[in-house]
Symmetry: C2
Subunit: 210 residues, 2 copies
């Protein structure tokens, strides 16, 4: 059984928890509170030298890090993966876009504004960059969604999961989605997909162990 090291309030962790829930894959969930330094202990760093969650133990003592790499691993051969060679590349394109253009702005803002007390003051020097670059990334997504229901392959895939995680909490990142109607419609479509679970969902049947 897989073990997922995750934090409930992390958008990157949510991606993996959402994929596991949708695919009905049994797993052990270990809550890592990065605010308490739990991702920087010697024990955790031995598992992931980059000191980040989510982290999936895919075989005994073998770990895969980076939320979107984990999504790719889990989705292979399932309904969440696009099928054609070009479609797979397009999914990765949007997933790299997410980690390069969206998450560094929305994810950083979410972390410092929603999770860290006094974070706004500490990060004052970059808040404007995050907002400007965040809106720019949302603009690219809005343009695509104006004539696409989903990001790739005309259906819900891991590309949507990757982009949903921080976009659906944009309001907690100082970003206003009111001028992005196509994004708002897509967010509603994703949330209405069968098997969808919210970010604070926790599987009751699974023990949360450290």
């Amino acid at each position: 059984m897989y073990t997922l090291y995750s934090m409930q309030r992390s958008g990157n962790s949510y991606k993996v928890r959402l994929a596991l829930a949708k695919l009905g894959i049994p797993h052990r969930l270990v809550e890592i509170d990065i605010l308490q330094g739990e991702s920087r202990t010697p024990e955790f760093l031995a598992k992931n030298p980059n000191g980040q969650i989510p982290l999936l133990e895919v075989a005994p003592g073998r770990y895969v890090a980076e939320s979107n790499a984990i999504l790719w691993y889990l989705a292979g051969g399932t309904m969440l993966a696009p099928e054609g060679r070009i479609e797979r590349a397009e999914a990765l394109q949007w997933m790299f876009f997410e980690q390069h253009s969206l998450e560094p702005n929305l994810g950083a803002a979410f972390f410092w504004l929603a999770l860290i007390k006094g974070g706004r003051e500490l990060q004052q020097h970059v808040l404007e960059d995050w907002t400007e670059n965040g809106y720019r990334a949302l603009g690219v997504m809005e343009k695509h969604l104006t004539d696409h229901r989903y990001f790739v392959d005309r259906r819900y895939t891991i590309a949507d999961i990757a982009l949903y995680a921080y976009t659906h909490v944009a309001h907690e990142c100082d970003l206003d989605l009111s001028r992005f109607p196509a994004i708002r419609a897509w967010l509603a479509r994703v949330a209405a997909e069968p098997g969808h679970v919210p970010i604070d969902w926790q599987p009751e049947a699974l023990a949360v162990a450290k």
Copy 2:
């Protein structure tokens, strides 16, 4: 034949040009000078709404963006791709690490310090973050390379290509590799691989057309 929209001095473009050279894949090369706004023209934005290079035309009128997604597309089934399911996930892990932890720091520093006149003054407010986070990413790579010759699967793959692009110009990003001996040894190994070409290499046989 593929058409690659690329800029000679772009590390992200270099990744794709290196992979194409190593795989001996014929292609048409279109130089896009992002410093002259050539990636933000209506014509280019119609190809890639995110306004970035590299961009590969994979079928008539069909484009894949994001350097690492293009690498994945080109490498499939070749000697540059890792084979096992876990190894493929590990390659993607390092490629997402590259776009999330390395490139936003080294790539940004390279762009503003090496390519833009007066860039150092314009970006003074974030230079320290780039340096600190860049060294942190290099530290994670150094640790891995201390007991691995390559990043994944014990051999040269697209994960190495992705990480090589900006690491090999670290000195132009205000970063000093003298305290990273394992990285320096790996850079030398990559450069000694058969078919390696430097960042300023240009295939003589191919016309550079706009």
